[in-house]
Amino acid sequence: MNWLKYSSPQTFYPLAGKMVPWFLASAAVLGAIGLYIAFFAAPTDFQQGEAYRIIFIHVPAAWMSMLIYMVMAFWAGIGLAFNTRLSSMMAHALAPTGALMTFIALWTGSFWGRPTWGTWWVWDARLTSELILFFLYLGYLSLKSAIDDPRRADKASAVLALVGAINVPIIYFSVKWWNTLHQGSSVSFSRAPSMASIMLAGMLVMVFAFWAYCIAAALMRVRCEILERERGAAWLRNLEGN
């Protein structure tokens, strides 16, 4: 099978259309299981009471905000290096979903911080670097839309995405490098997770639900990008239904 075939917008458009319902359905099923665990299977936390249940959306959203940025910077970089149209479109399609995930992480973090730390916001390393990530997404999106020539917009926004990528490891390690109010990671590769297994299971299911949702949203948006950028192309005229 020739995978490179799918690097052209013309062949990727229908393929993405076929994948979207599967990812949406997975997101819905996993989300339902995850929410059931979050609200009915997981017990009350002995320290934080019920407020801790925010973890089931906060952590997945925060992970997605960083992961999507890395994937976006990767595709932007590929587009910059090899001048491939679809890569740049993929980067553009990921940015709004990444920005929304960052917003969700900040919002849910704030609603969690209030009952546990007694404050909605604090200028701590983890929170501040996550806020910078949100501004990087917004900067990327506005730079892209400020330049009329799409190929030049691709290049300029790709440089911004690549330079901004340095912020992601800073967010990730901020709880280790600085003394922060934000707790350290509950899950890591190097040691056993510091949470009850049912809570961990619920969180991981929610992570996969968010993952599936973000892929579906990015694929839906890349199809829109393709329709916009390829406007007038001959292949679009033969498009039936899809």
């Binding site: 009915f40 009350t44 959306i57 709004p96 969700i104 919002w107 969690w112 829109c224 329709l227």
Partner: protein
């Protein structure tokens, strides 16, 4: 099961504002993004359809 009644569930042990505020905003954002994407795709497909029509006439 954690909850004795539905009202106990919605009260979230006194943390209702925080828990439902966090979950509510997340649901709202997901709904807005999906509706927006659907609408954008439909508009673009209709435009592409009109374009195809114009070329075939």
């Amino acid at each position: 099961m954690q909850w004795a009644s539905a009202s106990e569930f919605f009260a979230m042990g006194g943390s209702a504002l925080y828990v439902w505020g966090a979950y509510g905003m997340t649901m709202l954002i997901v709904a807005i993004e999906l509706v927006g994407l659907r609408r954008r795709a439909r508009t673009l497909r209709e435009a592409a359809g009109r374009n195809a029509q114009a070329h075939s006439d």
